[in-house]
Symmetry: C2
Subunit: 235 residues, 2 copies
Amino acid sequence: MRYELYYWPGIQGRGEYVRLALEEAAADYIDVARTERGTAAMMRMMEAKGGTPPFAPPFLKAGKLVIGQTANILFYLGSRHGLAPKAEAAKLWVHQLQLTIADFVLEIHDTHHPLGPSLYYEDQKSEAKKRTTEFWNERAPKFTGYFERLLEESGGAHIVGRKLSYVDLSLFQVVEGLRYAFPKRMAAFERRIPGLLDLHDRIARRANIKAYLASERRIAFNEDGIFRHYKELDA
Amino acid sequence: MRYELYYWPGIQGRGEYVRLALEEAAADYIDVARTERGTAAMMRMMEAKGGTPPFAPPFLKAGKLVIGQTANILFYLGSRHGLAPKAEAAKLWVHQLQLTIADFVLEIHDTHHPLGPSLYYEDQKSEAKKRTTEFWNERAPKFTGYFERLLEESGGAHIVGRKLSYVDLSLFQVVEGLRYAFPKRMAAFERRIPGLLDLHDRIARRANIKAYLASERRIAFNEDGIFRHYKELDA
């Protein structure tokens, strides 16, 4: 079965957490909206009458199933591709961590969109500065501190011990994204997150991830995505 | 087994979605932080070394399991208490809808906290006005329109057909909360959400929910929670 991934074609965005899992698993998939007429096909799926229409991309078509919400897609893929434990308790724990990453990623997004997703950045620049300051003073240390602590206590090289999970791949992406969006702030902050940096580097060296990052399938970071580089926010 | 629910004692907040599920199911549970020394016990669980410490409340202790993230807790409870389908595809769909409600609830929260959770409302009142306007112009119609459409197409009285699920209980709470926070705006908006209002009324009449709402276990809405009534935002 070939998976069909549906996500906005010009950005990494939330689709990237799914792409990294599919790539690590060497799963057969097509990034539909990046093909000809793919975005129109994506819109039709969301507007479809009946069935399980997703509220927003990303969503994954797996045979007859259409699954939306990033963490939910990873939950589905995880146990099928060795990217999550199979036992219920451990599976819920890994999912819980992914949901906490989703909260973190939304707060990162909101640094440039504090007034909501329906206005342009240019219409909320001064508010974005205030929110970014709060984010780096309070929220980034709180979230990264939590994951640092879990890495210390995990008893292995990964967030839940010795085995890789999709959570590790997502944490790699968060470090990548923060470095892109806030190079100056991250340069000063990185001494506080040795565990995450170490994890990031090990993920980057994995064969499938390395090949993916060097390929055209990896979209470059840009100012339409979640992680945006605005000089004025990276003071 | 008696469940232990851990959540901030003075507010409905995100804990309320779990409480409504436990109450509808007539499950045996204790709201730990509302008991003597309960909040201290909650903090200790979050700071515990090893195990699966949650990032934030709510979390549920079920025997040896400690489960965090609201939607994850409901996922766990759903199939055990007849509040979600048992088949995998339907289970993922219901979870996906709950995650979409979580996104909606966060945007409702952000109407009064656009600069993030680490500042007081008083420090972001003018930004809150802007975000609230955007919310009611763009986001509230988009989210509620999605659920209205699903209710129309469900082929039954509930969001996924004939059987009640935890998603229905959460949608009840969203309508309750919006009415509390924005009585004037909702009075004008309600003609656009007949399906959600009808669902809300049917949930309110269920015996276990009715008894819960009339009990002291139901905390009143207040201005420390997610749904806050600020006159200046309810223009």
